[in-house]
Symmetry: C2
Subunit: 266 residues, 2 copies
DNA sequence: CAGAGATCTTCCGTTCACCGGAAGCCCTGG
DNA sequence: CCAGGGCTTCCGGTGAACGGAAGATCTCTG
């Protein structure tokens, strides 16, 4: 029995999927190969996308993602939306540390990086904006995973975990322990799990329902000594973003307020 | 004669077009209304987009642009690609001024903003990342337009120019003069053309072919006095970005270097 | 609490737009 | 000069897309 052919929409979207961080400029034939579409079909779809502005042709005739798609992507509430409110706080954090400052959300089993500020003197990390890394191996990922839906956690815990260095969390059991710790402490410190030379200090960002929707981190060289020294700054920034998002638990600063005022109905 | 019906692809893309800065979360019916598609058709297309991850549903069942599309958009060379190389220089500029720092490219007759850094104390401007403003009315726009293809310039010059304030360039004749001046000086100062209280200082960014592909600017309150004082910093940053992009005219700093060392092959 | 109105979802027969092989065009390199 | 790879145009058969109709939820409103 022949499986039902993919719909036109699915084919069109698969053309977009052909583009990746490692291949941002593709020839028509490359697109056809990557998507598995007949050349003629790819030609037609690519033509329509180009006419609309979703793809552009560079000087050499190759195709690249167009400004139109970038603009549409900029409307994603979980993308630029979040970034926009977080940005001032991230800038403060960057200015105070001059290290890598990152903002990420969870998608599937990965941490997707929405923003990365890094000065020239900061330790080199191989994340890029729009890129993704397995959640279990990054500071922000641990924070996000620790507050993810139960089924997501179980799914990650039951799968083999990719190792990057000998400090990457190796097993589900260890990961489970790490996540519990993150929940208890309210932050994560990830030491050398992606690259041995880098330590990440991460904290959660809450939205107006107090759900954890993002995480921020500062990444420093491990020889810099005490990563804990950065903790207050990271947590303060995370709290600031949460407040800007309307998180009830991040309202104002805790203080000697015992009487709350309600406006009684009627 | 009935006009040929729009292709499936065009319909799918029109669904994406339904989203705008003013409407990032839409119900199915709203999408159907905005696109002019029958409800059933919209339902099917939206369903496919959602299954793929291009759209997401929020708690209230409304649709929003999904992370998947944001990721794809992040691959646009003229979007995040440019931004990525420009970012360190923009940060320097921001840190030095603490005013609004902007990065923009030309699309059609508009300046599209790729990045905007703004502190809490900076003058409020109503640009946002991913947003656009008419080229003739903004500092970055004037710079971009001044170096745009001849036909683009003529097209803008022949159309009526939207006025924002009484200082907005009103006529094609004046615009032509302004563009010539921008080319001669190598920068643009736009005083109160969008909002009376803001002055913009803008400079061009060149790529490896020395074509002007972007522009940066700093926007300050007009009562801040001398906008010209910012000029060196803005031009230096623009030059830095150009050099990072491989612009030949921005190579190294001019200086008493007469001997260059090459490693001879073999 | 009924009933009007709005939005969303499923179902299904008809039709016409999509499909992709074939063929020709344009390069570049040998 | 031809070979090889990539791109574009053409066109007839067919099965996937289309959208009206009807039912399923919710939300107001009197």
């Amino acid at each position: 029995m022949p499986s039902p052919p993919p719909s036109v929409s699915a084919r069109l979207l698969s053309v977009l999927e052909a583009f990746s961080p490692g291949g941002t400029r593709l020839t028509l034939s490359e697109i056809a190969r990557r998507t598995g579409l007949p050349l003629t079909t790819a030609h037609r779809l690519v033509g329509e996308l180009t006419a609309w502005g979703g793809l552009e042709r560079d000087g050499a005739g190759r195709y690249q993602i167009g400004l139109r798609l970038w603009e549409i992507g900029a409307l994603a509430p979980r993308g630029l939306g979040l970034r926009e409110t977080a940005m001032p706080f991230l800038e403060d954090l960057y200015e105070a540390t001059h290290q890598n400052v990152q903002l990420a959300v969870l998608d599937g089993h990965d941490a997707v990086f929405l923003e990365r500020l890094s000065g020239r003197e900061a330790v080199h990390v191989f994340t890029r904006v729009g890129g993704r890394l397995p959640a279990h191996a990054t500071g922000v990922g641990l924070v996000l995973l620790a507050h993810a839906p139960h089924e997501t956690q179980e799914a990650v815990l039951s799968l083999p975990l990719k190792r990057f260095t000998n400090r990457t969390i190796p097993s589900g059991a260890e990961l489970r322990r790490a996540l519990a710790e993150v929940r208890r402490q309210g932050f994560a410190i990830s030491d050398g799990q992606i690259e041995l030379i880098a330590v990440s200090v991460a904290a959660p960002v809450h939205d107006h329902d107090d759900a954890v929707v993002a995480a921020i981190s500062v990444v420093v060289p491990s020889e810099n000594g005490d990563a804990y020294a950065l903790l207050p700054a990271v947590r303060a920034a995370a709290r600031g973003i949460s407040r800007a998002l309307g998180s009830p638990s991040a309202r104002r600063l805790p203080g000697p307020v015992h009487r709350e005022t309600f406006s009684a109905p009627g």
